[in-house]
Every structure is written in structure tokens, then in C-alpha cells.
Symmetry: C2
Subunit: 341 residues, 2 copies
Amino acid sequence: MSQLLTAGIYRLTSCPTLLAFASVVGKKEGEGPLGSYFDKINTDTTMGEQTWEKAESRLQKDTVSTVLSKAKLSPPQIDLLLAGDLLNQCIGSSFGLREFGIPFLGMYGACSTMAEALAIASLLADNGLVQNAVAVTSSHFCSAERQFRFPLEYGGQRTPTSQWTVTGSGAVVITASSKDSPPPYVKGICIGQIQDLGIKDINNMGAAMAPAAADTIKRYLTETSTQASDYDMIITGDLGRIGSDLCIELLKRQNIDLSINHADCGKLIFDPKKQDVHAGGSGCGCSASVLTSFFLPLVQSGKLKQILFVATGALMSTTSIQQGESIPAIAHLVHISNTKD
Amino acid sequence: MSQLLTAGIYRLTSCPTLLAFASVVGKKEGEGPLGSYFDKINTDTTMGEQTWEKAESRLQKDTVSTVLSKAKLSPPQIDLLLAGDLLNQCIGSSFGLREFGIPFLGMYGACSTMAEALAIASLLADNGLVQNAVAVTSSHFCSAERQFRFPLEYGGQRTPTSQWTVTGSGAVVITASSKDSPPPYVKGICIGQIQDLGIKDINNMGAAMAPAAADTIKRYLTETSTQASDYDMIITGDLGRIGSDLCIELLKRQNIDLSINHADCGKLIFDPKKQDVHAGGSGCGCSASVLTSFFLPLVQSGKLKQILFVATGALMSTTSIQQGESIPAIAHLVHISNTKD
């Protein structure tokens, strides 16, 4: 049974296991530094569908099918499906997953959604409320550009602080732990609080989200009486180059040193020299695909013992930006470990 | 500790209490048959804000403030805030609630969101994972029309099957039960599965959502070995007149008789003769405001002993409709009771 340390922060005691994980990405992601780690790379970014939105739904469907196959489970063995994406009304998830016939919880945490879904599923699994659950998120560069910025055909220029939405999806099967469950295990959760320091630049999401990541990391370290150096890596979702530097700086002012063991999925997924992505990758699918392809296998094999996965989300819309509003942000944290101790 | 009966269906054993509930609505809702039940009626539907979207955020903020005041709790005493709405990227919630400083979980279930948030909060409270949580949702006629249909200034004609989005918000404080906790109690949960029977008419949401409501009700009755007549009322969220009739008809074919004790929040909130709303009310705020203003006090006082609250959501977007897609729908169920037995 999980222990509630303070509002939103939990120590899990049975430590649910992440039984299987899968990632499906697009062509550009496949050409990046992590290309060899993904389960499936679609060289055709339409995924054979007629619209970008249908392509994104297809990504989620393929990723869930892949993760179920890796876990050797069928849909009737899954108690809950927790999913979300960036599209208006989260249609990437609802259309992608409607055929599975699994009880469905739709989440919205923008790019933090993978951590949110993992957190809720892990809490439920730690307390016998699900045997198996699946958490999945996606994003698609072309559907995101059309919805949040400009149609691709317009050929708009991007600012140096802007990030490139990842075409990709990641899914995890979260399973209630038994005596001989294999790692990785979920040991702790921190649900984020909305932070808004007044950033209004829609092309600088990293700056808007950095305070949320810093706040969540600080709250978790404080409540668990741990130091940043107790973890092999502290991995943010998609702060990118600018947001990562800001997050490190904000925590430095609080005497927390993240400079040594910090990584950011948005910085890892593309090659900054060869791939023209400016401040890095972003999107619900960025943290989800990097976590499931690169980091979870490292925790599984024991090369990484303890990691904090901190996915951040910018909770604005085009409407709120047009109305002159600043960008509220949130970050949820999942503590993943190679051991239950 | 909750008992998982089958995928997505739970019997709660400690039975969390709904400690306080509040509703804030607009002028038209205040003029309807339930006008005297709401906590606050805004005769100015801008709520003093400069845009409809900011007005909707203001609704959520006011409703949460009201419910906290009724519960005699302050934000630091709330472990989790679970919220969602219909606006793109759920900005009604993120902007409305950003100042409370409470750990925040964003939900997206379209108009089923109140039942989804209540369900998750109740599961967490039943298992000691939160002491107090708040579930809140909202909708606003003017922000919904602008986003999903036409700007109000266009003066578009509405079809007879169309529904009128409620300007309103409802919030509930869900509290872990102790020996002397007062009713209403949450006794059971059914998480919905996505249903899509191929309805493509964006102006007939009731028809799209009726199969989801019927499926969820049938699954819950079957798994709990209960009959529809075991409940004083089975309350759907916003099926409206057409969807309600279809839901009753679909269940009749399965030998489940809902004709006697069915009510629909979308049918109750407006007067079909005096208020020009066609098939009835709809929106995240419809089921939330009617549940919190009208039904929960009846369960609290014992006039209703057992109710099933089944909020339905249509999971499409304007983009999916323009691309010729049908409308997937979902319904989540919360069993609320005057006694723990």
C-alpha cells in the first residue's frame, strides 16, 4: 500500500513493475542518435493514413499493440488504459484506442501526460486496484504544427528557442508486483502543482516549463529526504536546451545540483548539429518514446539503478496565447528503480 | 480497500464521503427549473472577464473556492485537484485553478469528465491515497459555441437534435471515510470503454453517446448482480431527449428497464417549453452542476438512497468531424449512496 508523504507525493511499497515498454516513431526520430533503440520506425510519416491526425492515432494504436505483444498480454487482460495527447479533445488517443475495448481514462497534462498516466497507473497497481494497466501518449510533428503554429505548407520560420514536436509514441504496461516480478519498479510519485512565472513566448516552451520541473524535483527530494546525487539520472521530458539550463539554474539557487546527472529527452532525441531542430525535441511523444526505448531498458539491465522521470507540460492553447495570457506549466515525477529496496 | 470486480469495475469498501459540493452557473441556467438549487448564479455570463474562455476559467475558480468554503477546508488541506473541461487543451481548468497551489491532475473525458474525476478521486480516497481531493469541471455556452460550432455573432440555426451547452461548473470534495463521516458515500465505480456505433452527426451528440451509457450501465449491473430497480435513480449526464430515449431503448433490448427511474441532467436543467434549447443541455458543466446542486443534497438527506451517476462524453473534435470520422463516446459510472451498507 502506498504511503502518502504529503499532498501529491507518494512512496510506493509493493513497487509495481513496468512489465513491458514500446516505442514507435517517425523518420526523423529514426535518423537521430536514438534511432537504434526504437521498436519501430515509420519512414512514411503518414503511417499510411490520409491525414496527420489519423497518422497520430495510428501511432498510438501501433504502440499499444506492440507493448501488448511484448508483454504477451491481450486486451481483455488489461484493466485500464490511460492515455492522452496534444490534439484538441485528445483525438490522437480516443480514435487510436477505441477498438481495444479496454476501460479508458483520458488524461490531459500536455507533454507531462506520460508521467501523469504512469503515476496514476502505478498508484492503482501498488494498491491492488489494477493487475495490468497500459499508459500511452503520442505526438506528431505535422498535426502539432497545423494545430498550434502554421500549416506546413506555409513554410514559417522558427525562432532559435523553438522546439521540434516529436513524431512518436511510447507505451508501458504497469503490473502489480509479485515476489518474482522483474525490474524496472516504480518506487515513488510526485504529482505536480501548476507553476506560472509569466512567460508569454509561445516559441519558448522550455522557459515556461522549467519552473514546474524545478518545483516538482525540489518537492520530491525534500519530502523523501534525498539528494539529487542519490539518483543515477534525473530525466526531464522536453525542456530542450534552453529550459534545461534554466531548470539547472533554478535548482542551483535552492542548493540542488542537477548539473552532473541531468538529462532531457528533448535534448537526446535529435542531433543538434545534423538535425535542424533548434532548442530540441518536444511533445507528449518525446518523453514517452525516449523513456520507453532508451531509459527503461537501462534500468531493467541495472546499468541505471535509480532514475527520476520528470515530464513537463505547457498548459496553454492557441486561444489563451492570442488573448495575451502567460503559459501555466506542470511537471509530474515518477521514481523508477532497478531494485525494490 | 477497493475490490476490483472485473476490468474497470470496483466495489469500494470504506466508501469515501462527498464532504461538500458546490455549483456556479450562468443566467439561463439560473432561470431554469433548477434555478433555486445552485449556489451562485451569474446574471452576467462574462463573469466580469474580458473573454468567454476567461469567464469559464473564472467559473471553475469560483466553484472550487465555494466548495472549499462549504467544506471548511483550505487549499493546503487538499491532496489532489482533478479537473477538466471541453476547451482545447483544457484551458478552463489550467487557467482557472493555477493559483490554488494544489497537486493537479488534468482529465479529458469530454462531458464524462465529472464522473471520471469523481471515480479516480474516490478510488484514491477509498485506499488511503488522499485524505481530501476536489473534482471539478466546467463548460460555457459561449466558449463552446465559438470553439465547436460558430461564433455567436454568426447567428447560426440549430437543428432539432442539437443541445445547448450549459454555462456552469460543479465541484465536489471527496474525503476518506471515517466512522462518523456523513453521507453521501461512493460505493462503486465503473470506468467506461469507448463505444463507436458510427454516428457522424455533430448535431446529434445524444445518439452518439447513448450506446456508451447503455454499455456502462449494463456492465455495472451485471458485475454487481443488481437490477436497475435496485437504484432510486439512474442519472445520465447529458444525453438530452433523443439520447435518453435511445439509451432506454438500447437497454430494453438487453432486458434492462430504465424507463421508470431514469433521469438525465441535460433534460432537467432547462425548461423545454420556455427555454429554447432543443434536445436539452450538455457540456462538462451540465452533469457537474446538476449532480452537485440537485442530486447530492437528495442523497445526503436520504430522500434518495442509491443513485448511479453516469456521465457521458463524445470524444470527437471539429478536426475529426471535418475529416469524416464518426463520434467515439464514453461513459463513466459512480454509484452514490446514503448508507455504507
